[in-house]
Symmetry: C2
Subunit: 440 residues, 2 copies
């Protein structure tokens, strides 16, 4: 891990004129910037050893102007070049990091599914639970029968908690609607609730989450409905920036997945793929070939899938909270992927069935202890690489000059304590666009 020992500034004149805000007395500033890396290394997500470098500055200060990062560096050096700031905030010697970017959630849902959680612990299989009306279809029924107001209220409460864990940018998928009407409702509520809470949101249409029961015997008709009606109308109404497909043998096969991805590309949507979760099926390779921003889950990815991702800009979004919550034994082969040059990110997969974990800090703990990421790798995977997975690398995920001033003041003086103390929320303050949203 290198440390940055000089001032990095986006605009010397603006700094000399005095920024809107100066955050001082930062014990450890993790910028996730890489000012000394060759340009080529900055042009894509972090890979290999690059993932293990938080771009750390000790005894630092951070200058914010117009809601954006203006400059950062060792405090004395920065102060020497900085005009009188309009506001000063003292970080009390604590760590400052970019706000977490959570690139995979299903955070709009109605009831929680602790009944299924208990039944699984008592030994019922996923198939038994699904046959009894559980699983995704249970959340679909619940959502279709629930009012907008009710769903919005539940979502606002959940997103407020998520903000307190330090997430400042969240991806939210639809996928419990499985009809134009209910997918659109979910995406509208995702946007409204995030705006109410102050979270930056990326909305992903996951109409291809499952085949709804009314299409069970004519699955290709549902693929046509997604391509010909749901996605075009969602795009027309500006309700989503991305699409996602659940690519597994029992859900959408490779050809159906490719059909939906191509249609999304025509419509100008960015793409993700739920891939290789249940068996090695070629979903990751397909995602890479069709230019998806991310391939997600990847518990069962094989060597060909790893090679395909390593040679592409597609980010591998790993969801270890799901493996933990389901009590599975096999995590995604994160170390193998990192060593092969795959760009790895982490996400919560927050949802009522397979992963009721909303806390990015706990996801970092699970990633470290169960997949052997280092604390610095987990940090980069929840910030800069997660931003790449959403195509938001120029906006968020690092504190490089020009990025949004979305940052966290943590109540630790060493960022490795974030995963170390599992089950703890280390977030003391949450700032977005240079304004403080949470002070705990």
């Amino acid at each position: 891990m290198t440390s940055i020992d000089r001032v990095i500034c986006g605009n010397d004149d603006a700094l000399a004129a005095g920024p809107d805000l100066l955050v001082r007395n930062i014990g450890q500033l993790c910028t996730l910037d890489a000012p000394d890396a060759p340009d080529a290394a900055r042009a894509g997500p972090r890979r290999g050893a690059g993932l293990d470098d938080p771009g750390s500055v000790g005894g630092a200060a951070l200058a914010v102007h117009g809601g954006r990062v203006l400059a950062y560096g060792p405090q004395a050096a920065l102060l020497a070049r900085c005009g009188a700031p309009r506001a000063v905030h003292d970080a009390g010697g604590r760590c400052v990091v970019p706000g977490w970017v959570d690139p995979h959630t299903h955070a709009v849902f109605g009831r929680t599914r602790q009944d299924e959680y208990e039944r699984r612990l008592r030994g019922e299989t996923y198939l038994q639970i699904a046959a009894a009306g559980g699983g995704i279809q249970s959340s679909v029924r619940d959502l279709r029968g629930r009012s907008d107001d009710d769903l919005r209220e539940l979502t606002v409460a959940r997103l407020r908690e998520i903000l307190e864990y330090g997430t400042t940018t969240i991806e939210i998928k639809s996928g419990y609607g499985l009809s134009y009407h209910d997918e659109a409702r979910m995406l509208r509520i995702a946007g409204d609730a995030a705006a109410a809470v102050g979270l930056r949101v990326v909305r992903t249409c996951l109409a291809a989450h499952e085949v709804p029961t009314e299409y069970r015997d004519r699955r290709d008709d549902y693929v046509r409905l997604v391509c010909d009606e749901i996605l075009p109308r969602i795009v027309d109404e500006g309700l989503a920036e991305r699409l996602d497909v659940f690519c597994e043998p029992s859900v959408f096969d490779l050809e159906q997945t490719a059909t939906i991805l191509r249609r999304g590309r025509e419509l100008g949507l960015r793409a993700a793929v739920h891939a290789d979760e249940l068996e090695p099926f070629g979903g990751a390779a397909l995602a890479a070939r069709l230019g998806a921003d991310s391939a997600d889950h990847l518990i069962r990815i094989d060597d060909a899938g790893i090679a395909a991702l390593a040679g592409s800009p597609t980010v591998a979004v790993l969801l270890p909270g799901t493996v933990f919550s389901l009590g599975l034994r096999g995590y995604a082969p994160a170390r193998t992927m990192i060593e092969a040059g795959v760009a790895v990110a982490l996400a919560t997969d927050f949802n009522p069935g397979s992963c009721p974990i909303a806390s990015v800090p706990l996801i970092q703990s699970i990633a470290c202890t169960q997949m052997r990421l280092t604390p610095a790798e987990a940090l980069a995977a929840c910030t800069v690489n997660a931003a790449w997975a959403l195509g938001l690398q120029d906006e968020v995920g690092s504190l490089a000059p020009g990025r949004a001033a979305d940052f966290l003041v943590l109540d630790v003086d060493d960022v490795r304590l974030v995963p170390y103390h599992a089950g703890r929320n280390p977030v003391r303050e949450v700032w977005r666009d240079g304004r403080r949203l949470v002070a705990r």
Copy 2:
């Protein structure tokens, strides 16, 4: 799971005269009481199906008098028999449970050991880290060189956080002193810090945690020092209620462990044993044979050890947070133990090396997802059975009439949501002896 549908009262006249406090509008009250069980089943810790019953009352109220539970039951029925209470508290339809009892921690320590955490993730083994001065010896060096004031301040801050996770009774071990002087300091600080925070504490002398480096070549001399000097002086000064021994081939063997346990019994100390953590070694069977209250860890316990525990009052204290934090693959065989009739409890093992987890709710999540306990079993293992592991079953661990009014108001309406939402602190209020210590 049975539900209790009548009033259970310890003193009808006192109830009719009006209690000090009435907690009303409790959506789900988990008493961990078993008023319908035969007397024999109430005379020991919960086993088998008994572990799976939280003693739940729906739409309940709880009457508290003189800091003790006076009565509980369905609200309307309780109100009909209850005189005017001096205070009323509305639980808002939420769950109320007994305060957690954490029967195994090493919560007095100086510096955290995130450096070793990172080195382990990078592939160093425990032996390599220990050879480089890490491990327990590192905490011993740190503690011996640290002032009382500093250690007390760190401990108070940690215990305050532990109280916020809902722990109301905590066991704290010494074991980073390994001399009379430093063991006594640790136990004194444990007591002082717990009193400052309001936690009920049980102090355990773990002078037999490791052989200090100065005794490395004369290990039996250290056993003699423990038996002839450290334990008697600790008892004389009233600094501990229990002792513990790290019984493993590379630390204290079976004979040394038995020697120390017998000496503790002569001195009137209750006992626990760190047993069968690294290999099946007979520690659990020894603990059962010598009447220890608990045998702890048990990752590698064998059939003989399970049979010995099943036939004894010794409680198996499982520490799944340690397995999780170390990234080990094998958890203690909890289901096998429960089915064999072993009385199982859970604890955090909170310590700076192998388990920096202080949150009992997260321990419940790990126990459910990784060891397949049901949420109700995890609840009983963190309350009533944990109290038995400390010999405090008549004081805490359930809300049976006469027990201390130590309880939590959780921000959920179904207690299964506690383990379900891993990484979340569901505790809204903490009450001890009928007084509220935490309101979040």
